[in-house]
């Protein structure tokens, strides 16, 4: 050891003489080098993210394809999984618990299926969001890209998954007497707003999950509580009729319930506007903007810290 130490850390490859004596910082400034891994400004960050839009698309659809690639039935599961889910819930809540009080069967079944699919959309975005950074550390530590790419990709993957569920949903709606009408066009803004909300929420939990990976263990319980509180399988006003009114109001204005009701209203003929809370579209827009923008800024604030060992 000792004889190599004599050589020390002396730079034996003679550096160019012109710049001799400059401090590293001054040298960096002279040649316009920038600090590696510094967080870009918000506008620059959005621009970087936009330039990665093709990667976001490719990554989300790659994840979607990879999901069922080991199964024999392959992509059939994209449709079969939500269908089976709907069946299970119908068996328990529709037949055994009779949670569809206040609705005819023709309304309740599409009501239930819509609720499950729409809530699953938010739920799986959140679950994927929690692990977006902590579950992809290899990627984060190997490549340089705006980290918001990951939660956005995962939410987009869930949106694509939802499109498959929509096939089932449309079939169920038609089978129970709701036929395509102009009102179905409302699905587009409703799903778009929910998607923006989901992305924002996914970015919030992605930052929290990157610091505390334990959240991934906790999240299923949080999500299940949220699901039962949002009236996925029952009508909130009917079930809570004998409780103080403010409880039903709080539950009905929670974002999951708002998006669920909007989509039910757009799709199901027997589910009229009287089931919607007042100012429902403004509420839906408000939630989307608050979480979309808030979540994005919150995520960006920690950009340079993701992937820290």
């Amino acid at each position: 050891m000792s004889d190599t130490q004599q050589g020390g850390a002396v730079a034996t490859s003679a550096p160019p003489s012109v710049d001799e004596g400059l401090t590293p910082a001054a040298l960096a400034a002279k040649y316009g080098l920038s600090v590696s891994g510094a967080r870009p400004g918000l506008v620059e960050y959005v621009r970087e993210l936009w330039s990665r839009r093709h990667f976001i698309l490719a990554f989300s659809s790659a994840k979607l394809t990879a999901q069922y690639s080991q199964a024999k039935l392959g992509q059939v599961w994209q449709v079969a999984t939500p269908l089976l889910n709907a069946l299970v819930y119908y068996l328990i809540f529709g037949l055994i618990l009779d949670a569809g009080r206040g609705m005819t069967k023709g309304v309740y079944i599409p009501f239930l299926v819509t609720g499950i699919f729409v809530f699953t959309f938010t739920q799986s975005s959140v679950m994927a969001g929690v692990r977006a950074i902590s579950g992809n550390l290899g990627l984060v530590r190997a490549l340089h890209f705006p980290r918001a790419t990951l939660p956005i990709s995962f939410s987009l993957q869930q949106l694509q998954q939802l499109m498959f569920s929509m096939i089932v949903l449309v079939a169920v709606a038609i089978a129970f007497g709701s036929y395509p009408s102009l009102r179905w066009l409302l699905l587009i803004p409703a799903l778009f707003l929910q998607f923006v909300f989901n992305v924002g929420l996914a970015m919030i939990v992605a930052r929290m999950g990157s610091k505390t990976p334990d959240l991934a263990q906790l999240m299923p319980f949080v999500m299940r509580t949220w699901m039962y509180a949002s009236g996925v399988m029952f009508s909130i006003p009917v079930m809570l009729a004998d409780k103080p009114a403010w409880i039903a109001d709080v539950l009905m204005y929670n974002p999951a319930a708002v998006y669920m009701d909007l989509i039910r209203f757009s799709l199901i003929e027997g589910y009229g506007a009287e089931n919607l809370p007042a100012h429902v579209w403004m509420t839906a827009l408000g939630w989307a903007l608050a979480f979309g923008i808030g979540g994005f800024v919150y995520f960006w604030k920690a950009e340079e810290r993701y992937g820290r060992g």
């Binding site: 002396v10 590696s36 330039s51 490719a58 080991q70 530590r141 190997a142 340089h144 992937g307």
Partner: protein
């Protein structure tokens, strides 16, 4: 050997400057508490005290490294396992934040890791596209380079493997495709972490050639390797790290000779 042209293609323009870089890993759990429930409980109860009692251990991986790399240089990083070579590369790439000190770079250095953004369940074909996009290429760029990447990897030499999922590849084939994808882009600063150790001899020669090409395209190349031969063949300057400190920095032959003397004991 490789340093015959050291003075001709080496310019005076710095591309990477490390200024007294320190990197500290914080390791959760597994630390003080030996993983038992009571240990975990005492960690939770002990919250709010010093970090050590919470089972957070600090690993000081890089301790005050300072150097300047110039355009056209190929720099090898050597040292025993755990000496901080890979960590230093990640810091240069801006992927690991420094505890103190600064890393200045020209443009965005890219780490050519052996584990890239690829998915084993997808075909090689889709992975080429995905990997290209992940490195920041545009769709058009990926399309125009697709053929070149597949040819370079040599995946299709033994039949139409590119349309099979990557999990069906042998480990050597997977590594070749990963290298081919990563080396397809011209990087300002390219960081390679033992990528050359994989693949057969024929592919190693081909990748060494590609690294020399990348160097000529005005970038700076960093190479971490345990193979003194591939360092000697590709690098003209070597940094020797030991215990997170820079032990020696100089021409390849000189440093390697000292390193070999040290390791031969």
């Amino acid at each position: 050997m490789a340093d015959t042209n050291t003075n001709t293609d080496r310019s005076d323009v710095p591309t990477v400057i490390c200024d007294d870089v320190h990197i500290v890993y914080r390791v959760n759990a597994g630390g003080g508490g030996k993983g038992s429930a009571t240990a975990a409980l005492s960690r939770i109860v002990g919250r709010g005290k010093a970090e050590v009692t919470r089972g957070v251990r600090k690993v000081h991986a890089v301790r005050g490294v300072t150097f300047t790399a110039y355009r056209g240089e190929a720099i090898g990083l050597i040292g025993s396992n755990g000496s901080g070579k890979s960590t230093l590369l990640r810091a240069v790439a801006g992927l690991l934040p420094t505890e103190s000190g600064k890393v200045y770079t020209d443009g965005q250095p890219s780490l050519l890791g052996v584990n890239a953004a690829l998915m084993n369940d997808l075909t090689g074909e889709r992975n080429v596209i995905l990997g290209g996009l992940a490195m920041g290429m545009s769709r058009e760029e990926v399309r125009s380079r697709y053929e070149g990447i597949v040819d370079f990897s040599g995946i299709n030499e033994k039949g139409d493997f590119i349309s099979l999922p990557m999990r069906t590849y042998s480990s050597g084939m997977g590594a070749r495709l990963r290298f081919a994808i990563a080396a397809a882009k011209n990087h300002d600063v390219l960081l390679i972490d033992e990528a050359l150790a994989t693949g057969d001899r024929k592919f190693q020669i081909r990748s060494e050639e590609r690294i020399r090409e990348l160097r000529k395209e005005a970038g700076t190349v960093f190479l971490v390797s345990h193979s003194n031969k591939s360092i000697r063949d590709t690098c003209d300057r070597v940094l020797w790290l030991e215990k997170g400190q820079l032990l020696m920095d100089g021409p390849t032959d000189e440093v390697l000779k000292a390193y070999e003397r040290e390791t031969a004991r």
